[in-house]
């Protein structure tokens, strides 16, 4: 592209502000399109399942009317499942993208560096050993996730934080915590495969609307914490020094962002289990959609929700068996991780 060199700064300002307005408009268009896709997907999963319910009946059920038959299929079976999938997907996508941005590495997502494994192990311990339930489990999962994050951070710190070391240590910690989960599940008195699979791969089977409340609360609190800080998070992508030069208070922002990430990921894990690879995939997919160098947090949250919703639908109805959503997203994520490694080979650096 050939641009004639601007003569003065005064010439540059209208040009820049025009470009910025255009970029902002395009970003809003993309977010709107993703939101529309998510809403369409949500409505579709309410309408179509083993049987098909017409749209006007769905709307009547949603408005609180008692429709024989449809009230059960839509109100009791499909609505909680859809709500939980969307909320968990938003949390995983937002938390994952924030984590990848904070550590400046697409491999450093919470499910690879062990935060998800920590929350999952804490939740399983609470459910099986302490027989807790509800919000207590969410709190326990957050404590577990936060402890894991701090532990990995402390262990990876040696004259500064290196991405490669953090990822490797995270993989080691995750292996240890996953074996805790597997052991506790083997000890569980009422051994049910479906329940166990939720904690091994993540699933929204048997969702109840009551489970959505802690998830929604966490999404509003921790999600807004991240979104308020989204400008600082974007600045962090330039590197610590440049971000500091732009006026970002590094220590405070980093702490707030870590709390936000752990809160989102842990609550979602406590509700639906560690749905494989959603927090890992959502950020890169969103970055690919909006283009390089653009803010990804909101698009990533929407992409995460679309992934979980679509993965759950595919696992239920499009495949020969009924699979939990984590199996579907796990099958998607493995090849992408391998692609990243291959690309890392070509560019010769860590992702």
């Amino acid at each position: 592209m050939i641009v004639s060199p601007p003569r003065t700064h005064a010439d540059l300002i209208p040009q820049l502000s025009h470009q910025r307005r255009r970029r902002e408009r395009r970003r809003l268009q993309i977010v709107a399109a993703l939101a529309a896709l998510l809403i369409a997907g949500g409505v579709l999963t309410l309408m179509v399942g083993q049987s098909t319910t017409p749209l006007h009946v769905v709307l009547r059920v949603l408005s609180g009317e008692d429709v024989p038959g449809a009230s059960f299929t839509v109100g009791t079976l499909r609505l909680p499942r859809m709500t939980l999938a969307v909320l968990a997907g938003l949390s995983f996508g937002l938390g994952g993208a924030a984590c990848q941005t904070l550590l400046r590495n697409p491999l450093a997502s919470p499910d690879i560096i062990g935060i998800t494994a920590g929350s999952g192990a804490a939740a399983v311990l609470g459910i099986v050993m302490l027989q807790w339930s509800g919000a207590a489990i969410s709190v326990l999962a957050i404590v577990g996730g936060l402890g894991t994050a701090l532990l990995i951070h402390a262990l990876a710190w040696r004259d500064g934080l290196s991405g490669a070391r953090l990822i490797l240590i995270g993989i080691g910690i995750a292996a240890m915590l996953n074996s805790v989960t597997a052991y506790v599940l083997l000890q569980a008195p009422a051994w049910s495969l479906q329940e166990a699979l939720r904690w091994l791969t993540g699933s929204v089977n048997g969702a109840r609307l009551g489970q959505a409340l802690p998830l929604l609360t966490a999404l509003l609190t921790f999600g807004s914490l991240l979104l308020v800080r989204s400008r600082d998070i974007d600045a962090l992508r330039l590197g610590d020094d440049k971000a500091a030069a732009l006026g970002v208070r590094l220590g405070a922002v980093r702490l707030q962002v870590i709390i936000g990430i752990v809160g989102l990921i842990s609550t979602a894990t406590a509700a639906v289990g560690p749905i494989a690879f959603v927090s890992f995939l959502a950020g890169p997919i969103a970055a690919w959609i909006v283009g390089p160098g653009r803010p990804v947090l909101v698009p990533a949250a929407l992409v995460g929700a679309v992934l979980v919703l679509g993965g759950d639908y595919a696992g239920q109805f499009l495949l020969p068996n009924r699979y939990p959503v984590g199996v579907v997203t796990g099958a998607l994520g493995g090849p992408y991780l391998l692609y990243l490694i291959v690309r890392m080979n070509r560019t010769g650096r860590v992702a």
Partner: protein, 339 residues
Amino acid sequence: MTAILHIRRVAIGRPGWLALALAALCLTAVLSVTVGTRAVGWDDIGAALTGGTETIGQAAVALRLPRTALAALAGAALGLAGAVMQGVTRNPLADPGLLGVNAGAALAVVIAIAYFGIDTLGAYVWAGIGGAGAASCFVYAVGSLGRGGATPLKLTLAGAATSIAAGSCVTAVILGRNDIAGAVQSWQVGGVGGATFTGVIPMLPFLLVGLVVGLLSARHLNMLALGDETASAFGVRVPLARGAALVSAVLLCGVTTAICGPIGFVGLIVPHLCRLLVGVDHRWLLPLSAVTGAALLIAADVLGRVIARPAEVDVGIVTAFIGAPVFIWIVRRRQVRDL
């Protein structure tokens, strides 16, 4: 630290360390037979060793004998396989569990059970070896594509990705088959409980071949450690030497995983420990790794039996708890550039 170890190395010497490791193996084996979930008196142990199974105590000890043998064989196989893999890939983080070899073997065994109706241990072993071989080729190929060759970080990530993908596939296979789910689930954790002598026998020929080929490749591994070009200048046929060593590692891991389930971290920590004791000469490192691996796995099994009485903790979980901190220590000790 290194200075102290160096002095000790001179004082005790390599044969001394090997003798010490053998003594540790004997000690843990005795512990494994005498200590367990049920406390058994010496009379019963003596009677059980001569074939008696009249009392509950004697029967318990009779169950512990094959279990000890299996733990020793599996530990030796994993320790040796880890040392060979670290030598071949010149990669300090090589471990059959981390590199996805165990996950590949697990997937192959589960597929064999679910779709081909295979239910004999001998057939499990073949499936396990096939899966381990396919997974290790795949991980190594992905990890070494392009610039820089197979760095530890790339190999570990490729292994983690392969493990997760294989795990998803295992779940997908089990879900369709509720009848085999329970058996596969407990096998997936990795344990030596419930071993019988007839169950151990199908392993033996494969283990023997793997052990012999692995130990014989020691001299070539020493040469390969100098770099491929130097090794070929010394007259080593590099692809052949590397291939033979990898085949032995795959045989050992595949067989062990097929019988015991995936057991991680033994292959990682044992060679590192042994390298501290006898240095980098593979002619000493490989046998010592095998003996130490056997002692470690038996010890982990005993620990798992007593730590949560009256329940048992599977040995795969115990090794993960011992191994992950060591893994982190290795990662921290090295410069990031090396990773």
